[in-house]
């Protein structure tokens, strides 16, 4: 009953501020990262209750073993064609990221974000979904568009904010949108897509539809309140949604410890709500595929939401505005104990006897060429800042369905200014 602490001999409290293991210049040693053996993880039936499989949130689902073989119950047993498509899609994506990143460096646009090293978390995941399933990506899931066949030239048009940009130059590069491909408009605000995906899934369920939703965010973004709202709603209404957390270890300059990684896994968040939760090796495309497939099956059979943590590594800078050498050891990427998703799938296919080093080399060249063509094509429609590609009127459209008087007046003003500022 309200004892007086001043009488007691207590040692002072202290504030814990997380600190990553390695800073620039440090030698990297990942030997304390526990790497589960591939094939070792049990695969419960999709009808298993979340309470009966909490351990999966603390394990790491892996399929490709050290000999590049697919092993264990999570092996999705995909056919060669599917695997080759997966490989080619990831290779194309990487080539695209590389070149577009450089386009920004060359001043052709304002911004770019790569998904290097994390390609499996979008490509393999999207392949395990149905085309009609709705994806709510963050800004690093361009892989979904590659899977669903969005033309690269359209992507580049968006990145260049040029006159063929379907988004009329309104959005920052890489903030794509496609209703046709069930790819939700990317937001610059972190994690807002999370409750939206759950709402979409609730709508689908309430309509007796068959389509499910999938959503992605980074591990850093899990700290936002929207994440919690989404998991709460998904738990309450048993929404048919897959909630992906791409744990790439970094959120700009902050390591995952600032999102809580020192204490538990991110998959464990799902456990907190009684939601099924998987933790997968995000650099193992087969594991990602298998986990997504399992979660999709659950969702589609009215068994509710699943949280999937993809344990991966952001191999490059956060964005073109970022310089990671200022805050992390350059060795991290090389030492990453779970390798690279493209290399791993390539080796698996070679081991499987359906692919070769030469074919991979040819593929890489082909991918680079394809991007070059797309960039060249897109550049014909203009690059950012060279000319004003959109009629000024477009600036005022789509604020509302119909333009009200005040926007009409402002549009007229803008037009008048155009004649003065940029006389034709």
């Amino acid at each position: 009953m309200a004892n007086d602490i001043s009488n007691r001999n207590l040692s002072p409290l202290s504030l814990h501020v997380p600190e990553p293991k390695f800073r620039p210049g440090d030698a990297v040693d990942y030997s304390d990262v526990e790497i589960q053996k591939a094939g070792d993880q049990a695969r419960p039936d999709v009808s298993t209750k979340p309470a009966a499989m909490r351990d999966l949130a603390y394990d790491l689902i892996r399929v490709l073993d050290d000999d590049h073989k697919a092993v264990g119950p999570w092996d999705p047993k995909l056919d060669d064609d599917t695997l080759l498509k997966m490989l080619k899609t990831m290779a194309q994506l990487r080539a695209f990221d590389d070149r577009l990143h450089r386009q920004q460096r060359q001043g052709k646009t304002s911004f770019y974000m790569k998904s290097t090293g994390e390609e499996a978390t979008s490509v393999a995941a999207a392949m395990a979904l149905d085309a009609e399933d709705m994806c709510f990506p963050s800004y690093r899931q361009q892989g979904i568009l590659f899977v669903r066949g969005y033309p690269m030239v359209d992507m580049v048009n968006q990145i260049f904010s040029n006159k063929a940009d379907k988004l009329k130059g309104r959005q920052l590069p890489i903030m794509y949108s496609s209703t046709r491909l069930n790819f939700f408009t990317v937001s610059g605000n972190l994690t807002t897509q999370y409750p939206q995906a759950v709402g979409w899934a609730m709508a689908s369920a309430s309509k007796g539809d068959n389509r499910i939703a999938a959503v992605w965010c980074g591990e850093g973004s899990t700290a936002e309140g929207d994440f919690h709202a989404a998991l709460t709603f998904a738990a309450v209404y048993n929404a048919p949604v897959i909630m992906n957390i791409v744990n790439n270890q970094w959120a700009i300059s902050s390591f995952s410890g600032f999102a809580g990684a020192e204490r538990t896994t991110f998959a464990a968040r799902g456990v907190g709500y009684g939601i099924a939760a998987l933790r997968v090796d995000g650099n193992d495309p087969l594991a990602v595929y298998a986990a997504t497939q399992w979660a999709a099956e659950r969702a589609r059979t009215n068994q509710g939401p699943t949280v999937i943590e993809h344990f991966t590594y952001r191999a490059d800078a956060h964005s073109t505005s970022d310089d990671p050498t200022a805050y992390r050891s350059a060795q991290e990427r090389e030492e990453w104990p779970l390798g690279d998703p493209i290399m791993r799938l390539k080796r698996h296919l070679i081991t499987r006897g359906v692919w070769s080093v030469e074919q991979q080399e040819a593929l890489d060249v082909e991918c680079v060429e394809a991007v070059k063509v797309a960039v060249k094509e897109a550049a014909k429609n203009g690059i950012l800042g060279h000319g004003l590609h959109q009629p000024f009127e477009t600036m005022f459209q789509d604020v509302f369905e119909e333009m009200p008087w005040h926007l009409r007046e402002q549009a007229d003003q803008a037009d008048k200014e155009r004649d003065i500022k940029w006389p034709s």
Partner: protein
Amino acid sequence: MAVMNMIEAINSGLDNMMERDDNVVIMGEDVGYFGGVFRATAGLQEKYGKTRCFDSPISECGIIGAAVGMGAYGLRPVPEIQFADYIYPGMDQLISEAARLRYRSAGEFIAPLTVRSPFGGGIFGGQTHSQSPEAMFTHVSGLKTVIPSTPYDAKGLLIAAIEDNDPVLFFEPKRIYNGPFTGYYDKPVEPWSKFDAAQVPEDYYRIELGKANIVREGDEVTVLAYGTMVHVARAVVEEHGINAEVIDLRTLVPLDIETIEASVKKTGRCLIVHEATRTSGFGAELSALVQERCFYHLEAPIERVTGFDTPYPHSLEWAYFPGPVRIGEALEKIVGELKS
């Protein structure tokens, strides 16, 4: 025709829309079985089923965020925020998402939500059941803001809001749910049933958004108000025997500038009344607009009568409320300066 108070009219509007369009769904804290803390959704769950009208977790962020997703799917959600004072946890979803979805996707995705929320003071609700946050939303491009002042308008505007393909904030002046209020807290409330505006068709009808209503014609001064303050202002005008034109804005964005401009050009004087805090309230925008468009017609300064720039105090709420004395004084000042 039936006689309805404002809650009943809102309930009837929701009922009509749920009947006509099975994409209309209602979600919010206590709106399901219980029918809402103000009873606006009473009976709807029973009539349309649990998946059309249901309770939500206590998360305004989740309510609006999920509604955005439902809207993207093709539903037409009508989320309720229990009190406007509690809308702030959902601000980001409204400002960054609902308001910009159409724009950023170049029309590919839309957010046809109608966010209903009781607002305003006068019920001894203290700081957190009395706020009028409408001005903030009028600053956000892509949001519409609608505020009814009678049962008839509430139903017609609500239906138009639900049918609108843009996100609408629909703020309900809770002080006048049961009857209009003339600003005298110590007089008994006269029920809506005594007033014409309580004659409400049971069937569907709509009142176009963006059209103001001239509730009283006059030529001495234009009074701009919305919600509860329409009634207070009108009563004061009559008390003071001033031949004022009282305009109920009904929609703040998009604003019916034509009606406002025509009136002020006619009267040469303008009083703006709202309950929200003064600084950067919607009255500021109205004042700026009127001044910009009617400068050469103005014969006296435009005045604003508003709530004070403090939280809504519990015990002194009648000192806070911009009631008859504050309005009357401003009116006399505007008219007086002219007459002299």
